[in-house]
Symmetry: C2
Subunit: 198 residues, 2 copies
């Protein structure tokens, strides 16, 4: 009675999901993310379109699935890794470290991240940034009444430059320029330092 619960994923379904993700990765590498249409992906994988939608629900869902592994690894670093990114350092240090790490992560994954946002998707790339910032801000001496607003604003300050269509030209698959992440990391550090000092 190995499985008492809901029902395991069927073997063919698992196989097909793997196959679709692999095909998608290949298509992105070869032609860029925008060439990954649902029809083309289905055909390349030798499956029906309905299957693709059943698996991922939406086009953005494919890219979210591709992102999930790395996102989980990142999350582990934050939750259980060594300080200052992980637990142990004081809140300001952790905020700064988180900003640096997140900036690097988003710069690395910007192509897939951008693709995972397309169209009306109610889900944040990851709610992790929001809740992590909220938690850390809560441990500073900032007035509690300001926490909610600041949490939202710092979250968008950190992730917005990578998520809003306007800071990255989105036609060409041009990555954020090399200086971009550095400038943002510097800005973030100053922002946090000045925000939390007494």
């Amino acid at each position: 009675m190995p499985f008492g619960k809901p029902r395991p994923e069927r073997a063919d379904a698992a196989r097909n999901r793997e196959r679709l993700l692999e095909t998608a990765r290949a298509m992105i590498a070869e032609h860029g993310a925008e060439k990954v249409t649902m029809d083309a992906l289905a055909e390349q994988a030798g499956l029906g379109k309905g299957t693709v939608f059943r698996r991922f629900g939406t086009r953005a869902g494919i890219f979210r699935a591709l992102l999930d592994d790395d996102e989980r690894r990142f999350q582990e670093q934050v939750l259980t890794g060594p300080p200052p990114l992980g637990p142990g350092a004081d809140p300001a240090q952790r905020l700064i470290a988180y900003g640096h790490a997140r900036t690097a992560f988003l710069a690395d994954h910007y192509l897939i991240v951008r693709a995972s946002l397309e169209r009306r998707e109610p889900r944040w790339v990851s709610g992790m940034t929001l809740s992590h910032i909220r938690m850390l801000l809560g441990r500073t001496s900032l007035p509690p009444s300001a926490l909610e607003g600041l949490t939202v604003q710092l979250t968008t300050a950190l992730e917005g430059p990578f998520l809003l269509p306007h800071f990255l030209t989105d036609q060409t698959p041009e990555p954020p320029s090399d200086t971009h992440p550095t400038l943002l990391s510097d800005g973030w550090r100053i922002l946090i330092e000045r925000l939390v000092r007494d």
Copy 2:
């Protein structure tokens, strides 16, 4: 050497643009922005689909056109209005005032703003926020090397909460809750105060 000017807009074109904008406004008021499809708009206005695209280029273009008037008025207040929003106050005061005013503006127009972003559009809702913040930050005592990063981050901190699909649930035409703009205004004030104090 016939024309010193490029060529005036044809009368029928002007008339049709007016008509399309008016129709769009009515449709938004009655059924919400997402019911404004290009076909429906063309039909309601009694014009052809091709005409709608000729005028506005893209669906988002319609909403941008609707926004333009108000945006221009807002810009005037900032550039030539009374302080602290207009010129005259010190940079920190102007930054705070700008944040309050912009937050209110975006909250008022959130429906159209959101609609004007749909799909790949290379244009920022307005580049004004970015350049205004850059200008004002430049007049503070912040280290010049941090200006670029901070400019981008403050811009996204201010506008991001209204532009990113994730802070406003976008299915329902639910406005940002009443408290939302207030929280954001408070957060912004604290952010600026702490950022620019010596």
